[in-house]
């Protein structure tokens, strides 16, 4: 598909101006946020496009790029969930293993060609999906423990470590973290056209080719998110940061 940069620019300006006008007429006070969001998207996407263009000509750079993505995804999830360095490593493992397992199957079967052009965008989507699920699973686990601290105390009082007690809440938290992806997969094509499908159509692929790639993405996300949810809920500290610490003050500190 040919994309004329001038016409694209005109369309973007018109879209942006229309959004600002609608917000102004509607009295919605987020015009500055909209400008910042649009500006960030512009800068980030141009930068990413340049990096990916470079990687397409230097495929060895893909490993570095994906590694940075995994670390950034882990950092984001860790910041949202909280926890210590051990929790960071747990999230890193959960996100990396989930994404790696899925990309490995798609590569080994040859469903996508073993090229940066095919695997880079697919891997990036898997990493993004893993991050979202890690955040959902981790937050739900800790919320469930906090909401059911009496039951958690029963497990602990029977000699369970905090992690063993957390296991009793892990499966439910993992299940709940998968609900959005299951809904997304179930409603694919009915409620909205998924991103990969739209991208492929705009790129000139046939609808059948677009559906084929979209299926790889959706089913791949189910696998990556299942793995990441299970590992996250089993590997992170189930207690929120303000619970489970030795309450004793240093001598003379009272």
């Amino acid at each position: 598909m040919n994309v004329d940069p001038v016409r694209t620019g005109v369309a973007l300006v018109l879209l942006f101006a229309a959004a600002i006008a609608v917000m102004t007429l509607g009295g919605i006070r987020h015009r500055a946020d909209l400008a910042v969001a649009a500006g960030r998207a512009l800068v980030q996407l141009i930068a990413v496009a340049l990096v990916i263009a470079w990687i397409f000509t230097h495929p060895e750079g893909a490993v570095v790029y994906l590694s940075i993505m995994v670390v950034a995804a882990t950092w984001t999830a860790h910041r949202r969930i909280g926890g210590d360095r051990r929790d960071f490593l747990a999230l890193l493992g959960a996100i990396a293993l989930g994404a790696a397992a899925t990309v490995a199957i798609v590569s080994v079967t040859g469903a996508l060609s073993f090229t940066a052009q095919a695997l880079l965008p697919f891997s990036a989507q898997m990493i993004g999906g893993a991050m979202t699920t890690a955040i959902l699973a981790g937050m739900r686990l800790r919320d469930d423990v906090r909401d059911n601290i009496d039951l958690f105390a029963v497990y602990v009082s029977l000699g369970a470590t905090y992690r063993q007690a957390g296991q009793q809440f892990a499966t439910r938290a993992a299940q709940r973290a998968l609900v959005p992806t299951l809904d997304q997969t179930r409603s694919a094509g009915l409620v909205t056209l998924p991103g990969a499908f739209v991208g492929m159509l705009l790129g000139g692929a046939t609808p059948l080719q677009a559906a084929q790639v979209q299926l790889l993405v959706l089913i791949g996300l189910l696998l990556v998110q299942s793995i990441t949810a299970l590992l996250t809920t089993r590997w992170i500290d189930p207690l929120p940061d303000d619970l489970g610490r030795n309450v004793a003050l240093p001598e003379g500190a009272s």
Binding site: L158, L243, A248, S254
Partner: protein, 260 residues
């Protein structure tokens, strides 16, 4: 644990929630064997003090503890303390019966299985028998524990602890949510268990303390200089002495007896 030594020794223990003391400056020994009742009106810090004895206050946000608690001679807040071992040796029965969402059998087996002990039918039957529950649940071990009555659930909670053969049972108003018949069953059980282990019982019921306690720790909520109410130990000692010849007028007033 040596029976001549106290089970717990509390030395200048203050428990705070945030900056507010819930229990202030408690120094006392808790006897090894028999029943020690923590008695007092609601809000005087009895449960807070009880939960400090096996470090369940670690699960309360912003809880802090100053002073020293030793169990069997060991500081329970020392950095090298084995929390899992402490909690297996010092079991806990909570005010509200809270069963594990699983079968009756799984409730009993949970602790021993974690401790890597053999879980067989004899262990299940033994724990339920000691808790006076076996005749009521035999043949229904694989039924959900949530189907039991409140009194049965509380005795299941006790049986679950007994399966780990603890040296101490902490009981936080274990009959507070039970009807009189279920309360009597649990009290009979406590009296029988006190022959073989140490029990620390939180209660605000004078009658229950009189029926069960060997020693009594009487607590009250008192305002400090800034007007903040915090729990203090008014007096403690053998139940007979405290009930019949209280030394402190606050105890006498709570007991409804003439001040000394």
């Amino acid at each position: 644990m040596s029976t001549s030594e106290p089970a717990f020794r509390l030395d200048a223990v203050t428990v705070l929630y945030g900056r507010t003391p819930a229990v202030q400056d408690v120094t006392l020994d808790i006897r090894s064997g028999g029943v020690t009742a923590l008695l007092g009106a609601s809000g005087c810090g009895k449960s807070t003090l009880l939960r400090s004895l096996n470090r369940l206050n670690d699960l309360v946000p912003d809880a802090r503890l100053a002073g020293r608690i030793t169990f069997d001679g060991q500081d329970i807040h020392a950095p090298d303390v084995d929390l899992v071992s402490l909690r297996r040796r010092v079991g806990m029965v909570f005010q509200r019966p809270t069963v594990i969402p699983a079968s009756i059998r799984e409730n009993i087996a949970f602790g021993p299985r974690l401790a890597k002990r053999d879980v067989d039918d004899a262990l299940i039957e033994g724990a339920l028998t000691r808790a006076n529950l076996w005749p009521e649940v035999t043949g229904h071990l694989d039924d959900p524990a949530s189907g039991l009555s409140g009194g049965q659930q509380q005795r299941l909670s006790i049986a679950r602890c007994l399966a780990l053969e603890p040296e101490v049972l902490l009981m936080d108003e274990p009959t507070a949510s039970l009807d009189p018949q279920a309360t009597a069953a649990v009290e009979d059980l406590i009296a029988s268990l006190a022959q073989e282990m140490t029990i620390v019982l939180v209660t605000h019921s004078l009658g229950q303390a009189e029926r069960l306690a060997d020693d009594v720790v009487f607590m009250a909520a008192e305002p400090d200089a800034a007007g903040e109410r915090r729990g203090v130990v008014v007096e403690h000692g053998p139940a007979q002495t405290l009930f019949h010849a209280p030394r402190d007028p606050r105890t006498a007033e709570y007991l409804g007896r003439t001040s000394p």
